[in-house]
């Protein structure tokens, strides 16, 4: 009897904990807002090493007003609408890059797990590549992309952005997935051997399910990397329509309308949070049958 009730209680406990930490997160944001305004007040009284004027640091309410104003004088779209559409576009590109990165990362992890030769040969470079600023290649990759076409499909700079997002996403994922695929204990593997299971069956029935607890944190890192890759690639390449480009454009208009760039930055933050939320939903779906007490 208690068995049937336990999962329900666990789920509601999870929900309650989630709501509680959401409350704390909101309190944290409120704290940041209060500190922002406090710095402005202090700055007006004594000289600080930063510009606390309304142009560099507009009031929080000025930012909100700025969001509702037309994007350019006389246009129908407000700043908010422009930012929302750029946010969604960047999110789409980032998630596209994330999906490609996850697919390639998983494939690579399976190959490395299956053939020791590839693990020995590739893994050091996969790890080393996490320590080097690959993002430095972004301007060059776009340069390459602009000059190639595959058959009738003309390469689009958006593909370059997605490509950059995907290669940033795949490194953390392949390392995490490999660790997960290698997670089953010797006992589990011997059990599968005793059933005369094929390598494919062992992969499907044992290694994939066992890798989920490793996969989920790797996906969180990958999604964040894809978002950073997207935003930076948009900035360093000037691809239009995305939030990265909008941040740069609005930053140039800062003297005229200081609030705009803040709205765009919030858009960039929203891309990250939305991507994280999508991964969290994926996490819920993947781990709903697993005990939740790993961290305890």
């Amino acid at each position: 009897m208690s068995n049937t009730q336990a999962p329900v209680r666990r789920q509601s406990g999870r929900l309650r904990r989630g709501l509680a930490s959401l409350g704390w997160a909101l309190a944290g944001v409120l704290l940041v807002v209060v500190m922002w305004e406090l710095v402005k007040v202090i700055g007006s009284l004594v000289t600080l090493p930063l510009d606390t004027g309304d142009q560099a640091m507009p009031h929080v309410w000025t930012m909100l007003q700025g969001a509702m104003q037309p994007e350019v004088r006389g246009s129908d779209t407000t700043v908010l609408q422009a930012v929302v559409s750029a946010t969604l576009r960047s999110l789409l590109v980032a998630m596209g890059g994330f999906a490609i990165g996850v697919a390639i990362g998983l494939l690579l992890a399976v190959i490395m797990q299956r053939f020791w030769f590839f693990e020995r040969g590739l893994l050091p470079f996969v790890i080393a590549s996490q320590t080097v600023p690959l993002i430095a290649l972004a301007p060059l990759i776009v340069g390459i992309g602009n000059r190639i076409s595959i058959g009738p499909v003309q390469w689009n700079t958006t593909y370059s952005v997605m490509f950059i997002a995907s290669y940033l996403a795949f490194f953390p994922l392949s390392v995490g997935a490999l660790r997960g695929l290698q997670a089953p204990t010797a006992t589990h593997i011997e059990l599968m051997r005793s059933y005369a299971a094929t390598p494919g069956q062992t992969l499907r029935k044992l290694r994939f399910p066992a890798s989920v607890p490793y996969l989920v944190p790797a996906m969180k890192v990958s999604a964040a990397a894809a978002v950073v890759g997207t935003v930076v690639a948009e900035i360093s390449t000037g691809v239009r329509g995305g939030i990265g480009r909008l941040v740069i454009e609005y930053a140039r208009e800062m003297t005229a309308s200081p609030a705009k760039v803040y709205v765009a930055v919030f858009g960039a933050i929203a891309v990250g949070l939305l991507a994280a939320a999508l991964v969290a939903a994926l996490d819920m779906a993947l781990t709903r049958n697993l005990p939740k007490e790993h961290s305890a």
Binding site: S21, L22, W24, A25, A27, G28, V29, L31, V32, P49, L50, D51, T52, Q55, A56, M57, G121, P124, F125, A128, Q130, T131, V132, P133, I135, A136, L137, P139, L140, G143, I144, R147, I148, K220, A223, A224, V227, V228, T230, V231, V232, I235, S236, I243, V247, I248, A251, M254, P258, V261, Y262, A264, V265, A268, I269, V271, G272, L273, A275, A276
Partner: protein, 256 residues
């Protein structure tokens, strides 16, 4: 010494073979430099401009180093507070998790406006914020994830809270701190580099990569990229060295 050598030579051989193949493919297929310059072109560009590359490297590495050091101090301090005061923990944990998911680098133009854009300050600040998260999360974990038996032992020995902190919590947190450093050090280089894409002084690696690429000087752009990769590796190796020195007891199961 012989052991060190045995650790170092396989990746060196692999890298040499990789470079040779790259060179061969570019030469045989006559690949244009804008697609992929040959390693020889990258190296000649590097040596033609060695002082320029060196200056840009020093500039960006300095930004990264300053941001890393200050970020480590702030991250550690807040982690210490969070392990001591539950309110700090509750406030900081979701904010830190949010920071990890968000492209912090997009804050650069705002910081450029608030602080002197012609100085290094905004870039260092962005680096600090980016470095903060891995340090905070790992140090908090290390200070709080103590074996219950260790705490019981210390209580059975009548140890004060200060003694528990000094003899158990801090040594326990050190390997976690270094794990955070291993993530933070490469991130600091990336942050310092990318922050240069948002305008401001042009003498760093990021700015040079962007301007070389814009001027179709691909060999030079790749030379700067090479320097950036070297800086990233050096930062990481420095942390590995520090780990050997500070936590020799973790030698057994570094991967775990």
């Amino acid at each position: 010494m012989g052991q060190r050598l045995r650790l170092i030579w396989p990746p060196v051989v692999v890298a040499a073979v990789f470079l040779a193949l790259w060179q061969g493919i570019v030469v045989v297929n006559d690949i244009k430099p804008y697609l992929l310059p040959a390693p020889s072109l990258i190296f000649t560009s590097l040596f033609d401009n060695v002082s320029g590359v060196f200056d840009a490297t020093v500039y960006t590495a300095t930004t990264a180093f300053l941001g890393l050091m200050i970020g480590i101090v702030i991250g550690t301090l807040i982690a210490l507070l969070a392990s001591r005061f539950i309110v700090v923990n509750k406030l900081a944990t979701p904010l830190a998790a949010g920071l990890a998911a968000v492209p912090i680098i997009a804050l650069t133009p705002i910081l450029n406006n608030m602080f002197d854009i012609t100085s290094r300050t905004p870039r260092v600040l962005v680096t600090i914020i980016i470095v903060f998260f891995p340090i905070f999360v790992n140090v908090t974990r290390g200070l709080t994830q103590i074996q219950p038996a260790h705490l019981e032992l210390m209580r059975s020995l009548n140890a004060s809270a200060g003694k528990v902190a000094r003899l158990v919590r801090i040594p326990n947190a050190l390997p976690f701190f270094l794990t955070g450093m291993k993530v933070a050090a490469p991130l600091s280089v990336i942050a310092a580099l990318v922050a240069e894409y948002f305008g401001g002084p042009q003498q760093g690696l990021g700015a040079r990569i962007a301007s070389s690429a814009a001027n179709t000087a691909y060999g030079r752009a790749w030379a700067y990229v090479t320097a950036a990769i070297v800086v990233g590796l050096l930062f990481y190796l420095a942390v590995l060295l520090l780990e050997r020195l500070v936590t020799p007891w973790t030698g057994r199961a570094r991967s775990a």
